[in-house]
Amino acid sequence: MELLYASCVGVLVSCGIFLLLRARTFPVVLGLTMISYAVNLFLFSSGRLTINKAVVLGTGADYADPLPQALVLTAIVIGFAMTAFVVILAIRGRADLGSDHVDGSPVKSAAASKEQK
């Protein structure tokens, strides 16, 4: 299980980084989302991976660490809000800059507008 879990996080992060390095906003947003999934999984595993344990202090002496779950919950909420914001910003950037390049690539967008004329 550890191997599967770790490779899952690893694959997500590497895909995320690959997408982040693209110059256009849509892949970048996707990459950010993937990284935040990976981060959530990673945070969850910081309480150690165990099965068949009480969620919080239960009847037995054994219980799963509840704190990472709380942390993940917070991270999900924050990550969701931030992704929503960056999507809106990307749309606004597309409208304002006339291209979906992350750095607004002024030369290219000028050339594109000439072509349209």
């Binding site: 950010l32 910081s46 942390l71 914001f85 910003l89 607004g104």
Partner: protein
């Protein structure tokens, strides 16, 4: 009531922001401005009261929901955090006053957003829990994203997009770092971590080191330390000047986090991990100072110049963090207060100058003369002298103190020449800027500007910010005593741990 005092600098701005979103304030501009100013004033007054109270009674630990540390989240109000909270509230008050003169109507929700930003920064300063620090970072970041777009144009969108994406990546790295540290230490309470980090052994030491260094990446990004500084000049120069002035405190949040994490958690008591980031910080800080100075000389307009001055100040502060002794930390605090106030004042001044020079705005080329050369010129001279560190203003005291605190270490051989040559470079850059802004005229005919005089409110704010500089010198005795006290308290790690873990409320 008095035991809840430590939570008020967080609760009051939140309350203010919510009130300002409600109908009576949402509809009328006048009511909104009055309410916003009143709330900012109250926040500032409470922060100052907290500062004095903590100074007299010692560290106060506020357990939120009465869940005591290390299980619950605590707010720790000590001399260091209350000082920075007071500084933030003061800057927030200045930004709101200045914005009330007209800038607030250029976009929507200026006032609530400023209050949210103050809430985030105050929270980041007060919290005693690393995950809570992350949450407050996000609060201040999302407010700053929105403020950055305030009344913006195309240029602004591009800068904002890059800033937001960079910070989102930074947040992910922050979470990974926290996950690693939690996995190894089993706690995220700063005091508790400081206690447990020395008990690590075997492989755990290296894992904790990886986590700590990941956090360094995040703090370096927030604080704009080389090589993660590239976002800063563009972002600050494209934001509205009043927003940029408020942002002057945000790089300091990164520096503060470094100070907390690497002095307390990975500090003297950390066993194998003692001072683990010091070599990194030192080199990067020196490089940041140099790059900032080069940027200042190359800058094409006053706002970019000021943004690069912020970089230089960050470099200086981080170099002092790397020294890890009481005297250096005390000098750091003095310099931090001084540099935040004066860079905020310079951003605001750039705004007024740009308005009065018409088309050339604040670009450093000859153009129309400003309408109030005496007033703006005098403010500029005072600000420039303060930044460069010429006597008799606060920059000079800060500079001497910094140089003196590095004197006994072997690093002085590197630091002194770099710092002094940089100061000279800044002097050149600012003199050149002043000359082209105020004296170089292209067009003699258009001397009679058709713009209005600067709004007295805006002038008051700038003078208020600049007046802090001589005040920091006049009351230098008590203030430096306070700074030394705060630094001693920070470096007294076992005392801090005891106060947080055994005290509670």
């Amino acid at each position: 009531m008095i035991q809840h005092l430590a939570s008020l600098p967080i609760l009051l701005p939140m309350l203010a922001a919510v009130i300002l979103l409600l109908p009576p304030c949402g509809k009328s501009v006048q009511i909104r401005r009055y309410a916003s100013n009143t709330m900012a004033l109250i926040t500032f007054a409470v922060s100052v009261f907290l500062l004095i109270h903590i100074y007299n009674t010692g560290i106060s630990v506020y357990a939120i929901g009465d869940w005591s540390a290390p299980y619950g989240i605590v707010l720790v109000a000590d001399n260091l955090s209350t000082l920075l909270v007071a500084l933030t509230s003061f800057l927030g008050l200045g930004a709101i006053l200045y914005g009330s003169a007209g800038d607030d109507e250029k976009g929507s929700f200026y006032h609530p957003l400023v209050h949210f930003l103050v809430l985030g920064v105050n929270g980041a300063f007060l919290t005693g829990d690393l995950f809570n620090l992350f949450v407050f970072f996000e609060v201040l970041l999302i407010a700053s994203y929105a403020l950055l777009m305030h009344g913006g144009d195309k240029q602004n969108t591009r800068a904002a997009l890059q800033y937001v994406i960079l910070n989102l990546v930074g947040s992910s790295v922050f979470l990974i770092g926290l996950g690693i540290l939690y996995g190894v230490l089993g706690t995220l309470n700063i005091a508790d971590m400081a206690q447990k980090v020395s008990q690590l052994n075997g492989d755990d030491v290296f894992i904790a080191k990886a986590g700590g260094l990941l956090l360094l990446i995040v703090f370096a990004l927030k604080g704009a330390l080389l090589p993660l500084h590239l976002w800063l000049p563009n972002t600050y120069a494209s934001a509205k000047p009043v927003v940029a002035a408020l942002f002057a405190i945000m790089t300091k949040v990164g520096v503060y986090a470094m100070l907390r994490v690497y002095t307390v958690i990975f500090g003297e008591q950390a066993g194998a991990l003692e001072h683990m980031v010091q070599p990194w910080l030192w080199g990067l800080a020196i490089a940041t100072i140099v790059v900032g100075a080069m940027g200042a000389i190359a800058a094409q307009d006053l706002r970019k110049l000021t943004a690069n001055l912020v970089l230089v100040s960050v470099g200086t502060l981080v170099a002092l963090v790397a020294l890890q002794n009481v005297n250096a930390t005390a000098a750091l605090l003095y310099y931090l207060v001084h540099s935040t106030l004066v860079s905020a004042a310079l951003f605001l001044l750039a705004d007024l100058i740009a308005k009065q020079r018409g088309k050339v705005a604040d670009r450093l080329v000859g153009g129309r003369a400003v309408k109030q050369p005496l007033l703006l010129g005098a403010c500029f001279v005072v600000a420039a002298l303060t930044v460069v560190g010429m006597p008799p203003l606060s920059g000079f005291v800060g500079k001497i103190w910094i140089l003196k605190s590095t004197l006994n270490s072997e690093q002085a051989l590197v630091f002194w020449p770099v710092y002094l040559v940089t100061s000279f470079a800044l002097l050149v850059a600012l003199s050149r800027a002043g000359t082209s802004l105020f004296w170089e005229r292209k067009d003699k005919r258009s001397e009679s500007a058709d713009c209005a005089d600067a709004n007295p409110l805006q002038v008051t704010v700038i003078i208020g910010l600049l007046a802090c500089s001589p005040l920091l010198v006049i009351f230098g005795g008590p203030i430096s005593e306070y700074m030394v006290g705060a630094a001693t308290q920070l470096h007294d790690i076992s005392g801090g741990i005891n106060a947080v873990l055994k005290g509670g409320m």
